[in-house]
Structure formats: C-alpha cells, structure tokens
Amino acid sequence: MTPWISDFLNWLFRGQSTELIPVADWIAALVNWVVTNFRWLFQLIRWPIGAVLNGIEDFFLWLPPILFLGILGLIAWQFGGRRLAWGSMAALIFVGLMGAWRESMTTLSLVITAVVLCIVVGLPLGIAAARSHRVEGLIRPILDAMQTLPAFVYLVPVVMLFGTGKVPGVIVTFIFAVPPLIRLTNIGIRQVSTEAVEASLAFGSTPNQMLWDVQIPLAMPTILAGVNQSIMLALSMVVIASLIAVEGLGQMVNRGIGRLDVGLAAVGGLGIVVLAVVLDRLTQAMGNPPKDGLTWNERGPIGAIRSLLNRRQVSAKA
C-alpha cells in the first residue's frame, strides 16, 4: 500500500514536467479578461481617488511650512498635550532641514488618501462583520490573503488595471492597510459589554440606534487603534509604491538604492520613520485621551481659549 502511493507521488510530482492544475495560466487568463473587458471600470474608480489625492497634495504643497507646523502643533496639543505638540513640530522641522519637506508632504497626502479610503471601505465592512457571523466568516480568509500575499504579487495586476502613478499607489497601499481596521472594528463592536447591549435593547432601541448610540462609541478606542494600524501599514508600503512611479519619500529610498546612494536612501528612510512616529503618537492620543478628569473642551488650545474668554467675562462683570 504505502510503497505504491510513494511511487505514484514520485511519478506525479517529480516525473511530470507540466503542472496538472494550471493555476498560473488560469489567473493570467482571468486578469487578461478583466483588463480587456473592465478596464473602463477601473479607470472610472481612478477618478475620485485621484481627485482627493491631488486635492490634498496640492493643499499640502501650497501650505506655507510655518502654517503646516502651526496646525500640526495645535492638533497635537489638543489631543495629546504640549509635549506631543513640541515633539511633532520638532520632528517635522528636522525632516524639512534634511531637505525632504516636499517629499514628505507628497507621502503624507498619499497616506492620508489611502487611510481615508480604508475608513470609507473598512468601517462598514467591520460593522457588517460584527453584526453577522456569516459575513465575518466570508471576510476573514480574504483579509488573511490581503495581509499575507506579498505586495509584489498584486502590484502587476494593479498596474495592468490602473496604470502607473499615484492612484494605483493608493490602491496597493489600501489593500495592504485595510485589514487591521476591519478586524479591529469587528472585534471592538463585538467586545462591547453584553449588559450595555442588553440595556440598549431593553429600552427599545433599533439595531441602528444601538449601533450609533452605544456600540460605535464604546468600540471607538479599538476602532481608532485599527486606524492607527492602517496608518502604520500605509507608511510601510511607501517604498513598494515607489516602484510604480509614486513620488515622495519612498522614491528617495528607491532612487538611493538604484544609484547605491546610501545617504539619499537613509534620508528617505528617516523621513518615513519620523512621519510614522508622529502619526502613531497622534492617533494613539486620539484613541486614549489623557485621564486627567478634564473633558475635551477643557483641554488643549480649545480649553485655553475657553478659560481666557471666561476670565474676561468674569473681569468684565467685576
């Protein structure tokens, strides 16, 4: 019995020169068929993504650096406090001094566009997965594939469908970055305490009222952790995206490697790291507000303005 199977498998796997299941041919044929028949559809998708991306990029490139730093500082102060504000401004100033300001603005706009796309697509999918075991079972293997499939494998079909440039860059970044957001949205909603869910139902909420009033607010820290993960993964795709002619920090790395210019590659790499650290701290602070007993409007620049106004009112009365 056993020797017979062994001989058969030897003949099958080593003796045969062609594959018995021609997966490669099938996929090539499928991609070709989609490209010839549905390229118009993908070109259509290209348009809104391109519009958003170009809008953000043009804005960042137009924005005087001093204003950009000021706004960044205010946002960081509001969500994370003064330390985070000074830290992120110093980090971005460092990037500018390295001569990578324009590139980092381009990369930032690509990351923001990809993450917005992740939220627009990933949040509803995560909610759907949390509400139905069937949807969750359907989505899970797809997410596994998206996270483990090497990016180079889907780089080629994406280029065939979308061409080269920024938009396909956003698409490959999206494929890589969206799974954690879907997963964490799903987990976050499922982990809302049964008593809160029961209380909501017991007072007669509809599924939608419960979702927006109870489940999403209570799942928000987990969902924001998902957004944070998406941002990190999006940044790590920047270098790969540069292979399909996406400009920015990734292109500096790519060019540096091509020319064996260690310095150029390092500047690009450092820029990515700095952006990653700043964005990570900022989104983490959004997900976990400091436990100082203050509400959001008593904190940061908004709190400072409010207390200033209050003081003026008090002194006007007096």
């Binding site: 809160a196 209380a199 009033d213």
Partner: protein
C-alpha cells in the same frame, strides 16, 4: 397592597439553549429532566415549564441560586431571550408573537429593566443615561431632559447629572440604573439581581429605597435575587426556582412557615423569622367586649365563660379603647360598679398587624397581651409574648398551655 388583576401571566414557559431546541423540547415533553436532556442532546434546559401569574402593583421576587434559570426567565418577559415554547401574556397579549416593531414599542413604554452590573453607558453622562429610554421613545430633547432631571432628583442624585457614571460609587450608579428604568414611566419593571453587586450596607439602603418608591409608584416589579433574606424582605410574593423548575410560590410567611420541600426548608433555615413574620399572621382572634352592650357583670361572665384573664374593650367602630383584667373586674363588680369604662385600663399596648415580630419585641410585656390593630386602627386580635417566641421557633409549636378553646375563643388568625 397589590390588586388581584393579573398583569403578567406565564404559561408553560420553556427555554432550552442550543442549536436545535425542538429535539430537546420533545425529550423534555416526554419527561426528560435537565441531566437527561444535556446528555442526550447537549442542550441546556434553562426554564422548565414555568407557569406564573403576577398581579398588578405586586413586587414579585424570583429567587434561586446561579443557574436556576431565574435570569433567563426574566429576560424572556421582555424577550431579550426568545423562549422555546409557551406563552407570555402581558395585559392579555402574547408577547412571544410580537413583531420586532411591536416588541420595541413594548420595551419603550411598558417594561423597563435594571441590571446587576448596572448596565450604564460609560460614555454618556448620568443625565444622558437616565433619559435614554425617553430618547428611544422619540421624546423631544428639552422634555426628556426635564423628566430625567426630575427622576434623578427622586433617587437623590440631582447634583450628579453632568458626571460620567465612572465617577460615582456602586450604590449611586445603581440609583442611576433605577432612575433610568423609572424615567420611562413603564408600569412593569424588571430588576435582575439589581442589588447583588453592592456592599451589604448600601444594599440594605437600596432595598429600603425601593420599598419607599414602590409604596407610591405601585409598579409591577419582578425582582430577581439569590438572597433569601432580600427576597423575603422585599417580596409581596416569592417564587423559588431550582434547575429551571419552579419549586414554590407564596408570600414570605408561607415560604417560611410552610416550606414545600427540604430544599426550601434548607434555604429558610438561616432566615431571621422575627423579621419576616408579621404580627398579624400570628395574632389570636379573640372576642372583645363591645362597650355599651352591658354592665360589668356581663363582661365578667363573658370572661369566665371563655376562661380569660384579659379582655379588650372596643368601641362601636371596632377600635380598642381599654383592657379588662379579670381580678380587678371581679372586685369592681362586687363593689357594685356598673360602668365598664370606669374599670378598664386605658393605658394598653397596641401594635399594627403589618409590623414584623422584631419590631414588637420591646413592647411585649410579661403578662399583658398586646392589641393587634389593622391599618384602620380596628381591633384584629391579641398577641402574647409566648406567641412571639413560638412564632420565631423553627420547631413545631408545643401544645397551647391555655385552657381548651371555647367556640369563639383563642385561635390564630392564620393556621
């Protein structure tokens, strides 16, 4: 006192947990018990053929240990859990057949709920929590805010409306849970182990508070508890569950004086009977002397006929006005006194029938029987120190030392 109008009627309610409950239900109908069903089908019997009638205005306690099916039962009533079989009639309508929309309407207007771990929404302020039910009902923001503030004041938390629940102590959080349930004005309130997570002292305070609120609100309350003391203290009636089955339903006094089986007897062993038993339930119905119906000799003859040392005198409205002592009465009669009101003692102890035995210990004097009066002050009988001791004894009462009973002589009101 609760009316006798049925508010909630459960008929042959069964809940079986598992993927294919119908198969397990068949087994249950054929007489399988909890273990049989678990072994044969892997399904868990949660509630086993429970039929109950709960009256309007009643505070009905369902007591049992964890796993007895009490929480499942209460969740079937507002259908947070879908029963496997049986009917749940609320005001005569079978809610098991309700559509999703009618069910929401029921939960918004008719049934509210209080949870063991409070079930507050941690991201909403106390006031927002309290107004949640009103919000679900679609009431305008200003109106519901005002109603929520009023309800919050009723539980003594008016100063805490803008805080988040996490800033409050456990007892205060459950007051918020209670206020949230009260704010919708639903006539039925389900309380799932509402006080079990609280410290003993706070728990007692909350129990008293609930009884105080219930005295004016007169809601139909179903209160789940695993604590026999709490159940007997709060409940107008108490149902005891075990392994999904209903073992006994009765008033607290019935539960401790006539336990249905050893399981309940074991439960009630540690109960402070003096706290549960009401004076009225052990009072002896004796014939009083009605003032104006005869002279002292007539009264004396009555006492001699019934072998009585003491006899109460009542007025025309049935209210006790004096106490006669046989020796003194005999002496007065021989002196030729005629008017009973001149002979009787007017300084005698009275106790309300609704008070617990514990509350009358301090007035139980050696030899004088206490007059028991109902809520309107009318004479209902007497109680002697001996009766109190016999009542709190967990053993069967020894033979009555008083002489044989005449037709209208001493008899306990409740057997």
């Amino acid at each position: 006192m609760p009316s006798s109008k049925p508010k909630i009627v459960l008929e042959h309610l069964v809940k079986i947990y598992g993927d294919h409950p119908q198969r397990a239900l068949k087994l249950f109908r054929q007489g399988g018990n909890r273990d049989d069903i678990l072994e044969a089908t892997g399904h868990v019997l949660g509630v086993a053929d429970v039929s109950l009638t709960i009256h309007e205005g009643e505070l009905f306690v369902i007591m049992g240990l964890s796993g007895s099916g009490k929480s499942t039962l209460v969740r079937c009533i507002n259908r947070l859990i879908q029963p496997t079989s049986g009917q749940i009639l609320i005001d005569g309508e079978d809610v098991v057949r309700f559509s999703a929309e009618r069910l929401r309407e029921l939960r918004r207007t008719k049934i509210s709920m209080v949870f063991q771990r409070f079930g507050l929404f941690p991201h909403k302020t106390v006031l927002e929590n309290v107004e949640y039910g009103l919000k679900m009902r679609g009431i305008a923001a200003a109106e519901r805010r005002q109603k929520a503030a009023e309800t919050l004041a009723a539980v003594g938390l008016e100063a805490w409306g803008d805080y988040l629940p996490d800033n409050l102590s456990g007892g205060m959080q459950q007051r918020v849970g209670l206020a949230r349930a009260l704010a919708t004005d639903a006539p039925i309130m389900l309380m799932d182990e509402a006080f079990s997570a609280l410290d003993p002292l706070i728990r007692r305070g909350m129990q008293d508070e609930l009884m105080r609120l219930q005295a004016t609100l007169k809601k139909t309350i179903i209160f789940i508890s695993h604590d026999i003391q709490e159940s007997l203290k709060l409940g107008d009636r108490v149902a005891i569950m075990k392994d999904g089955y209903l073992v006994q339903v009765g008033t607290p006094e019935e539960i401790i004086t006539q336990p249905a089986d050893d399981y309940i007897r074991a439960f009630t062993q540690d109960v402070n009977r003096a706290q549960v038993l009401k004076t009225g339930s052990i009072a002896r119905r004796t014939r009083p002397f009605v003032i104006g119906t005869g002279p002292t000799v007539a009264a004396l003859r009555q006492m001699q006929d019934f072998h009585r040392e003491h006899m109460y005198v009542i007025d025309g409205d049935g209210k006790p006005i004096g106490l006669l002592i046989r020796d003194e009465l005999a002496a007065a009669a021989s002196r030729g006194e005629v008017d009973v009101s001149q002979v009787m003692l007017t300084d005698f102890p009275t106790v309300p029938a609704a008070s617990s035995l514990e509350e009358i210990f301090h007035i139980a004097q050696a030899d004088i029987p206490l007059a028991v009066v109902d809520a309107d002050g009318r004479f209902r009988g007497v109680i002697r120190p001996f009766d109190i001791l016999a009542g709190i004894s967990t053993q069967a009462s020894p033979p009555d030392p008083t002489p044989p009973l005449a037709p209208s002589g001493d008899q306990p009101v409740l057997a």
